[in-house]
Subunit: 83 residues, 2 copies
């Protein structure tokens, strides 16, 4: 079966987000006031797996080993079958 995983990699609470701060400031210069801007990364991964549980297990391992840095990031995975 083919699955699509949407993985969101966010900075943990309390981690500085200089890119978000820069965007917030740039928006202010354009006249848009915001209370906060936080950035995150999204990965859309299409993969083959026997079932949705093994797909999730695979994607979790990918996050732990490569995509996320567990010291500074939280990640969330949402999965759906596409075939």
């Amino acid at each position: 079966m083919q699955y699509q995983a949407e993985v969101i990699i966010e900075l943990k609470a309390g981690m500085l987000d200089p890119e978000g701060t820069t965007v917030k400031r740039a928006l202010e210069h354009l006249g848009y006031e915001t209370d906060s801007v936080r950035t995150a990364k999204k990965f859309t991964i299409v993969l083959q797996a026997a079932d949705i549980h093994s797909a999730r297990e695979n994607v979790e391992e990918m996050c732990e080993k490569l995509i996320a840095n567990p010291i500074i990031h939280n990640y969330s995975i949402s999965l759906r079958e596409i075939e």
Copy 2:
């Protein structure tokens, strides 16, 4: 009212995604086969607005003017009231 907007900035279909290609290749080296990896950016923006319609209008303008590049990006906005 305070609103939280989740903005996803994705490359348009057909645009090359070198970061996604690199992650796909790195996953292969670690033993994880995938069919595709695409990257995107997520911004979480907290802002004040009179109602949800003006919040959406504001965030759309932020995307058009600063956050997204309409030549290469699609964006989607999901909004919810948080106060």
